[in-house]
């Protein structure tokens, strides 16, 4: 039953650029998108940094060329990134093949809901916010923006969401249910998420330092990224070009704590091992790991333990790119999927910014400068609240 599944188009908007070429430029110049908070309204504006998209909602509306007042920041950025991915792949959703949209988000329309929630009890002007608060909204906006979409669904598994969207898309192609799927995730920054992470006391007030002994926490970001994945049959039919192949994926649960990762990284270890097993690749055949690496004391230690458990003393080159984009929650895994494909295409490892001192008990040292090296296989990890652990394995298209 199993046909191979390829990535054939990339789309991304985040703090490091409004599209893939801009993102690549920032990555290859080691330029972070994290800085002073400009768009988000919060009393903590001057105390924390964030990875904001550099466009206002008005500017985003102009870019999507849709003045529908029901749209919110989540929908705008999702539509932009999904459209870019489709354009990049060259697929035509009108050609009669079965196209799906599988998206993911955690707070969905909250960035708008939080502005009007109290007002809605007394004024009628913004009651339509009720229709766009839920997670399905942005997915259906994407589907309608692309046109002729046969299947839609949405996933929410906290910070591993987009990895699961990619995984589900691959499975639906392999099971013959769809020919190609636009998969990814989106999360616009909201006051709600910002304050939520602040109560957990895992926000760094300075630039986050993934895998550093003195890391204090994460920087939140926002973004959307989608990739077009196609089964080899559909791809051959249209003589399209593959950018990379998805050769492994796995989903496991840490089942340790509602938010924290187990100290030994049990769920993460399972996810990495199972993704490897599926691909048939040995740990020694992995060229680079794009880590989850949020910069929180808990995640980075737990992920380091899992990495050691799987790779022993032969840990491949690795970095976390969260210090470029900030932690974009549901979009993180698809943003990092796009970054991984850029790495494969350009044979470049993008650096783990802000790192100076390895974690004492681990002694794992990420790549801190741009590395030009031949890359064939990349592992990408994404873990989330609720113990959700997912790993994806990409291979250079042959």
């Amino acid at each position: 039953m199993s046909q191979r599944v390829y990535i054939t188009g990339l789309g991304m908007i985040s703090a490091i650029g409004n599209n893939v070429p801009e993102s690549f430029l920032s990555l290859s110049q080691s330029r972070t998108g994290i800085g002073k908070i400009n768009h988000l309204t919060t009393r903590y504006k001057d105390e924390f940094l964030a990875g904001e998209i550099k466009l206002s909602n008005e500017a985003l509306a102009d870019l999507v060329k849709d003045s529908n007042p029901a749209l919110n920041r989540n929908s705008y950025i999702a539509m932009l990134a999904a459209k870019e991915a489709v354009m990049n792949s060259g697929i035509d959703t009108n050609d009669g093949l079965r196209t799906g949209v599988i998206s993911s988000t955690t707070v969905a329309g909250m960035s708008k809901t939080e502005l009007y929630y109290k007002e809605m009890f007394v004024k009628d002007d913004h009651l339509n916010v009720l229709d766009t608060h839920d997670c399905g909204d942005s997915t259906e906006r994407i589907a309608d923006y692309l046109g002729n979409v046969d299947y839609v669904t949405t996933i929410s598994t906290a910070c591993s969401s987009a990895a699961n969207a990619i995984m589900l898309g691959c499975r639906m192609i392999k099971h013959g249910q769809l020919d190609r799927v636009v998969v990814g995730g989106v999360d616009a920054l909201s006051k709600f998420t910002f304050n939520g992470f602040n109560t957990l006391m895992i926000l760094d007030r300075e630039w986050c330092k993934p895998f550093d002994e003195n890391r204090k926490g994460l920087n939140l970001g926002e973004g959307a990224a989608f990739v077009v994945i196609e089964g080899e049959n559909a791809l051959n039919l249209r003589k399209g070009k593959a950018l990379a192949e998805v050769v492994g994926y796995a989903n496991a649960n840490d089942a340790y704590h509602q938010t924290a990762s187990s100290p030994e990284g049990y769920g993460a270890t399972l996810a990495i091992q199972q993704a490897l097993a599926m691909s048939g690749l040995k740990p020694s055949q992995i060229d680079y790991i794009n880590m989850h690496g949020t910069g929180t004391p808990n995640n980075d230690l737990s992920e380091s333990m899992a990495t050691k458990a799987v790779f022993g003393d032969q840990v491949p080159k690795f970095s976390s790119t969260k210090a470029f984009t900030g932690h974009t929650l549901a979009a993180a895994a698809s943003i990092e999927a796009v970054i991984s494909v850029l790495s494969l295409q350009n044979n470049m490892i993008f650096p783990n910014l802000n790192f100076t001192t390895p974690i004492a008990e681990m002694n794992l040292i990420p790549e801190t400068k741009l590395v030009n090296t031949p890359l064939t296989t990349i592992l990408s990890n994404s873990f989330g609240f609720g113990g959700n652990c997912s790993s994806l394995l990409f291979k250079k298209a042959s």
């Binding site: 109560t199 957990l200 006391m201 704590h257 509602q258 938010t259 924290a260």
Partner: protein, 85 residues
């Protein structure tokens, strides 16, 4: 000190929604975490907010909670030491 401990008992029960626990069941010297009340890291964050809300004490580093929240008595002593009781 005892009055503060009694006050804290009520505040903790309320903040952590410990509906099943009666104030007299909490021993001021028993550990709050692990055994004893069986609290966890999320509760520790809740207790940090409790200190801020009721006593105006701000804790920036969650690690500091470990020593402060060993027991009700250590918590009360900390509040006293901050001159906020």
């Amino acid at each position: 000190m005892d009055a503060l401990i009694e006050k804290l008992k009520g505040q903790i029960i309320e903040q952590l929604n410990l509906a099943e626990v009666k104030p007299e069941e909490i021993n001021p010297d028993s550990p709050l975490f692990g055994e004893g009340l069986g609290l966890d890291s999320i509760d520790a964050l809740e207790l940090i907010v409790l200190l801020e809300k009721h006593y105006g004490i701000k804790i920036q580093d969650p690690k500091d909670g470990k020593t402060i929240f060993q027991s009700l008595r250590t918590m009360a002593e900390y509040i006293k030491a901050q001159g906020k009781s």
